[in-house]
Amino acid sequence: MLKRKKSSCHGSTEMNIEGLKKVVLVGSPNVGKSVVFGNLTGMYVTVSNYPGTTVEVTRGRLTKGSDTVAVIDTPGMYSLLSITEEERVARRILINSRPDLTVQVIDSKNIERMLHLTVQLLEAGLPVLLDLNLMDEAESLGVKINTEVLQARLGIPVTATVATDGKGMDELKNIILYQKVSEPEPPFKYGPLIERAIREIEKNLHNDYGISRRAVALLLLQDDREIRESVGEREGEKSIIIERIVQRTRDNVAEPLNYIITMERQDFIKSLLIDSLTCESPVRLPLREKISRFTMHPVAGIPVFLMIIYLLYEFVGVFGAQTAVDFLEETVFGQYINPVANRIVSSIIPWKVLQDLFVNEYGIITLGIRYAIAIILPIVTTFFIAFSIIEDTGYLPRLAMLIDRVFKKIGLNGRAVIPVVLGFGCDTMATMVTRTLETRRERIIATLLLALAIPCSAQIGVILALLSGNTAALGIFILVMSAVFLFVGFLAARLLPGEKPLFYMEVPPLRWPKLSNVLTKTYSRVEWYFKEVLPLFILASILIWAGKITGIFDLTVTLLSYPTRWIGLPPEASKAFLYGFFRRDFGAAGLYDLKTAGTLDGVPLVVSIITIALFMPCIAQLSMTIKERGWKMAVGMAAFIFPFAFAVGYLVNIILNGLGMVL
């Protein structure tokens, strides 16, 4: 997951790594690459106990004394043959950056599986250092690895670390900085059929691909689309000969070549580990394992889930959205900042018009900054603390596995819980994370549902504050939102063509969250969020101010008051809807002001909350949707969402009134 936008990644300039020795970190998802990176460079990357969370690339520097090398972190990849977008990104970096050293970080307890990538890196002719990470978990499971034997067998430096505790990091740094790692020879030979095909393909490859010809040949045999295309472009006529070799080899065997190649690697790896790996199976089921099974149980898992939701509610909804908001809003702003700001501004600026830009009803300080700091900040912060804790325990993949069947009905698979749950924190961030979903169809559905039916924490916080003490109203809100989520998802899954999603996921062990990690992660997320939000709030204040002077504001409010009245709301609510176009939480906060003033309550309150909650989340989310899904898709979604939101509001109003509900 990313905490910052690319442009603001490391201050104003990209970290300068020109001319330095380049070290690239690679490895499967969730093996601790980002922690190793943090340890090496002293820089923080959002780390989580969830596979596939590094979507972009981070660069840093490792310095010791007068020696410095550049370190590049990559998204997780299982194999050089890529399935997901993350894997393609990782491979591109690996190939394009032409590293002087590739550090493969592995999960030691699963060394057998992890060595497949090692073999591929060696075949690619890259100088490799193998970092056996998570050594503590391996040892607690009775897995012992003899690093010296392995080192001798592989012919590359091998070192063991526990990156979270910093164990073994000094040695790792020393090897990276001072040991000369040479380009390796291919670690083993395949059967005659494959070897012949490799030889023949190699003969026809005349360009440089950043990895060895042998590796290119193997990827071609394994039918890697990207490599095939780039060979087709660069080799011209030769590529036809190559295609023919691949086809002929394929026709000679019963199984896909990818399968055969993988099986041969597996045999080699087994022979490699024979005298360097010992496993004793632990006698009893560790407590951790028992808890883990409990959280995944189809029945017992439900109370666990509800318990987590309840704790989340108490922490974010009650403590964050009520206690903390009340304090900041009434005490800090109400008693101190607002009066002081009003006084100062009116003493410096004599013109009422200009005063309004900063203070009074819609001023930058009294509206923009107050909303951002007093209402949004405490809610978002508490949400991200809670989310980071949940994320680090490894609960989310378990939830993914529990919810997969439901998500299949709406065209997604269990993996989509990550963007969805994250969306409850910030839809913009979540929209960015949808790129980890495998198919275009899933990415579109997830983006649409995030934009429509997943209110972000800021908004939920305000909504909870609005509905506090009114359980029936809250129940109706949750019911309607869930129904919209499932209904629209169900329809989208029917209407959108494309491959059916498949669910497969590694479930990491339950781990105790580390306080320092939770705090830094929360900090970097809140920071990211704030950089996104605050300028928007200020911009909104300015636009409203300008709109007020020119009369556009009143005109728009009047125009909006029609649909507002149709759905049974007082005309004042149209102001909140106007804010809602900027950010739905901003709109909801506008409703909050109306409720405090006593103009909005009961059924109209619920209707207005539902309508605003269905709006597109905010301008930032819209621009992220444009960036990730393209103009057409984003505009299409907006054109659907706003009328749909009012339509649902209209329906809910009719139904509640028809039932004679008093809330």
């Binding site: 299982y78 065997v253 019963a254 497969y504």
Partner: protein, 216 residues
């Protein structure tokens, strides 16, 4: 009376041309033998085929016999690959010898042992036998798909269905490879299994492509 091995192979060839390649009409020139071959005469005598000029057809009796022969052939291939672990390059020859040894009773037990496989190693369908229909009701074979394995059982991956390479690659990236130990932990709402020292969750569609052999 039974057809000779050679005649049986012609019968299989004919079946593939008609049923799988959907060639109509099949003529003698499509076959690997000429019209004077003794196998043709034999098949005519057994009333497995009809000959009208160059055109050659399977009788209903011949069709049944041909399907059974194909089934034995493809089961033999599966047996070679999955159980005997014979090199794929040698498989064809061995399977050809073996299929003629597979008679009815043996064929059913072998099919059961293999878990009533649906496709041969070349991904071509194996015509189902009576035992396959029965097995649908009582899936208790030695080799079966992971989707049918109950929680708590220990098993070893026998083979993966390799038809859908998209699924295959995902499974392999999770470390699901023949010979690897898999312990099923839970089967609903998703299939969760321990492989090596990690837990993997997959949906039923993925689990159906993993065939495992149970271990005690």
């Amino acid at each position: 009376m039974r057809a000779t091995d050679r005649a049986e192979e012609i019968l299989e060839e004919l079946w593939i041309l008609i049923k799988e390649k959907e060639i109509n009409p099949v003529t003698v020139s499509d076959l690997s033998i000429d019209s004077k071959a003794p196998e043709l005469k034999e098949l005519l005598e057994l009333r497995y085929i009809n000959l009208s000029g160059e055109r050659i057809d399977l009788t209903s009796k011949g069709l049944k016999e041909a399907e059974a022969a194909i089934r034995r052939h493809r089961l033999a291939e599966r047996l070679m690959v999955d159980v005997f672990d014979i090199r794929r390059s040698l498989m064809e020859e061995k399977a050809c010898q073996f299929e003629h040894l597979l008679r009815k009773e043996v064929e059913e037990s072998i099919c059961t042992l293999l878990g009533h496989p649906k496709v041969c190693p070349h991904k071509r369908p194996i015509p189902p036998g009576k035992c396959c229909a029965k097995a649908l009701k009582h899936p208790k074979s030695i080799v079966s798909s992971l989707a049918e394995i109950e929680a708590g059982s220990k098993s070893i991956v026998a083979y993966l269905i390799t038809r859908d390479e998209r699924k295959l690659q995902k499974l392999m990236s999770m470390g699901v490879l023949p010979g690897v130990r898999i312990d099923v932990i839970q089967t609903y709402p998703s299939h969760v299994f321990r492989i090596g020292h990690s837990l993997v969750a997959v949906d039923t569609e993925m689990a159906e492509d993993i065939f495992v052999r149970r271990v005690k």
